[in-house]
Symmetry: C2
Subunit: 498 residues, 2 copies
């Protein structure tokens, strides 16, 4: 009886997963290959399949099966428990909201996204403001349905990062903010000027692609189970561990743009390719939280990909492919790709100041969701925080509060994952260095398989079996702490900006 | 009441069509972009979605709706009637077969396809023979469920070509066969040698692609609503009229291979791009029969694409792109691309002898389905017919009876469409020339818009609204006749082989 129900549930989850992969593939094609005129017909297909997935995920039968396992969970394997828990979370997230209100939210989302696009184009926050307010109101209402203890924002954080609370995050982010600002001040005082002019010029697209593929291959991203394509914004997408695709965007005039986004997405891609076969189509075939996924992409992009040891091996190949670097030394190149400059746009920020952009969004989201900040004041608060923390001021709303798409569809609670990824990554590095003798010699020789293996053993192979806090505890025997990330940043950047 | 039911039926058909487009896209990706290791996971997705489509197409609700319209069809628009008729045909085709037997057939199909692949690889018909027998037995059994009047094979013909019967087709194909063999004999007697060595050499793939795209664009294939990609076997696939993709296969050593397959698929592509918006997602968004679709691809590939007028315009561009042709005259080129040689492989046959390959298959299929030919004799009959009609003999089974995939999944009745496409195309040309003054001047100037417009007005814009016989009657005021095709062949080939 229980066995039958379990099999039914798992096969139902498998069907949903297959439909999801179909949807992902249709989306990938839309972003990379679709002819221009197809957009409307494509939306029709996407809408239909999304509707089918929604119907399956929230069906009565799904509810019955999940309810059965509320009282019949004991004695199941750890994996089966995780499968059920994960399906339950997805089910509740939608089903606790009255259907009528959810439908209204979806319509409001669409209008809001449209308004955001227009507002960004016209650099006018006023166009987007009423929609942002509606998105916040919806989220506040949803939090009531979902329930919360201390802080309304906790519920939203928990969606993306199980168990995370404002109380914990305030502490971490305050420490991180102060630490980064301290380093930033020292950098400014150092007076050191780093030249990065040679990274800007004319870089052949085919050469950029060839070089990125060379690095991806060395990293361990499997091109027989993946592809690198071009899209407007880089992303990683998985249709199962044997088909995990990444994209990048080539900028003829900027050497670093496609390079580091390829390495970043490669880090995501390796993760999803590594999740074992027996977790495929169970709902556990990627990390449970965005932050752990992001820890992998940022580990590859920054900790590894912007390290001097990495370029000791790869810079000669860069010189071989791009004659622009023929008179540039490794040292000059290394400093240039780690150039620090407080700036306005999150996605273009350097490794050091990036997290400050996230913290600003976190502080604002938290206040908005808890009703501590009025919608009419939000733009002013945004601009002031940028001035206070980074010393820069947006000239218009598009390079300020309108820059990110996330708020337009009501994704609150998501931003912190980006900064958490940095912190997780550095904490992993700390343990990795202790356990992995000769890590830097291997990197210098372009041997990146040891790092890949370590991440596989400690992170990737678990898929979504464990929460981020379980994963980091298992690795480092302590809770998440930003001291490792701050140590790493201080050591790295104060040696460049002496 | 009727209006509500009609809307429900149409919206149901629309949903099925969207799922079909999703499936087609997933298939396209598999053939063109999918990384190697993904094949098994991809099959899982395809199986699930095919299953869903099957479930929808044969659901009780679909049956109820269709049954309702058996007695409530009067007074509906011509279009609505066609939609219902088409859905009914699809429904009956499956539902008339007992579910259990259909399931067994699907399993047998899979085994048979596998056996065919192995047999072809090992050049041994014996491996495939028992599976071919099962496929024939299944089709004979299915014909009993579907019903038939005079001839069992009629029912299979009707699946692909509404209203076509053995009685009609015997007459047409006999005339065609005799006519072609007569021309072939004259060619042999002419003693004329055509040189085609310069078509074989080293042709850069990028140049081939560039040249194919140039021609496709001139033909009117819309690259903003389509793409040209590479796949093992060329095909055309539509996800709606705004996204119709074609593929080709580049052979470095043969100039004509990718060129003519691109033009061929372009002809299919133009058709599907042309079907009007109001027929999209109704089941009527492509031609009703394979033969009419094939008439378009063959019209572009052969009648237009292998005409001297066409190359009067395009040959200078071929010379510009491929230095191999610098000393070749238009006349030499024209003769080379129309080189006639009776051969063993259907897909590589020239325009003149191609139809003979089809007629051989037709004669064998007809006899097998009617029980007039024993499975143990089929190989011998195949080889004898090739000897009798074309004067060639297979050295092994792979270049003989095992060459085509069609029989391995039980697709009997399909082959004739290919030859019918040639006949329809020539009959259309006959009327087109009468109605379109200056057609050859336009072709000589690379102005192919007039031909496109004529085909749109007479064929494409109707989608699947009319049967092939209605379409050709509407165009030419007479029934299908192979005299136009034979006249065309005789005039063309006897002027080359004087």
């Amino acid at each position: 009886m229980r066995k039958t129900k379990l099999n039914e549930l798992k096969s139902y989850i498998e069907s949903i997963s297959k439909m999801n992969s179909a949807l992902e593939l249709i989306y990938w094609d839309m972003q990379t290959k679709m002819p221009k005129k197809a957009i409307e017909q494509r939306s029709g297909i996407i809408e239909h399949i999304s509707g089918e997935i929604f119907r399956m995920t929230t069906s009565d039968r799904m509810g019955e099966l999940l309810d059965y396992f509320v009282h019949n969970i004991e004695g199941l394997s750890e994996k089966d428990k995780a499968i059920i828990k994960h399906a339950r979370k997805e089910y509740d997230e939608t089903k606790k909201i009255p259907e009528e209100r959810y439908r209204e939210f979806v319509i409001a989302q669409a209008l809001s996204e449209g308004a955001w696009e227009e507002a960004k184009e016209k650099k006018d926050f006023e166009i987007f403001k009423p929609h942002l307010k509606r998105m916040i109101d919806f989220q506040r209402e949803f939090v009531e349905y979902w329930g919360y203890k201390d802080n309304k924002y906790d519920t939203l954080l928990d969606k993306y990062e199980e168990g995370l609370t404002v109380k914990k995050l305030d502490k971490i982010f305050d420490e991180l903010k102060n630490g980064i600002i301290k380093i930033l001040n020292k950098i400014e005082k150092s007076g050191k000027q780093v030249n990065r002019d040679f990274l800007l010029g004319r870089f052949d697209k085919n050469s950029q692609e060839k070089f990125a593929l060379f690095i991806l291959n060395k990293m361990g991203y499997d091109l027989k189970a993946g592809r690198l394509d071009e899209s407007m914004h880089p992303f990683t997408i998985s249709f199962g561990n044997k088909d995990v695709r990444i994209t990048t965007n080539y900028d003829n005039e900027d050497f670093t743009s496609a390079l580091f986004s390829s390495i970043h997405e490669g880090g995501h891609g390796i993760f999803d390719q590594d999740v074992p076969d027996d977790l495929q189509r169970t709902g556990l075939d990627t990390s449970l939280s965005m932050s752990i996924h992001e820890s992998q992409s940022r580990f590859y992009e920054n900790i590894l990909g912007r390290s001097k040891e990495f370029w000791e091996y790869f810079f000669p190949f860069a010189k071989y492919e791009f004659s622009e670097f023929k008179d540039i030394s490794l040292e000059e190149f290394y400093e240039a790709i780690n150039y620090v400059e407080p700036s306005l746009i999150r996605t273009e920020a350097d490794e050091l100041t990036y997290s400050i952009h996230i913290i600003i969004r976190y502080e604002i989201e938290k206040a908005l969701i808890n009703g501590d900040l009025d919608i009419d004041d939000v733009k002013e608060v945004w601009n002031r925080k940028y001035k206070d923390y980074l010393g820069v001021e947006p000239k218009n709303d598009s390079e300020g509060i309108l820059q990110d798409i996330h708020w337009s569809d009501g994704s609150f609670g998501y931003f912190p994952s980006y900064a958490l990824g940095n912190i997780y990554g550095a904490q992993m590095l700390h343990t990795m260095k202790k356990e992995y003798q000769g890590i830097y010699d291997d990197i210098r020789n372009g041997e990146l398989g040891g790092i890949h293996m370590w991440l596989y053993e400690n992170v990737h192979k678990y898929g979504a079996m464990y929460s981020p806090s379980e994963i980091i505890k298992n690795i480092s025997n302590e809770d998440l702490s930003c001291k490792y990330f701050l140590d790493y940043l201080e050591k790295k950047y104060l040696s460049i900006y002496k």
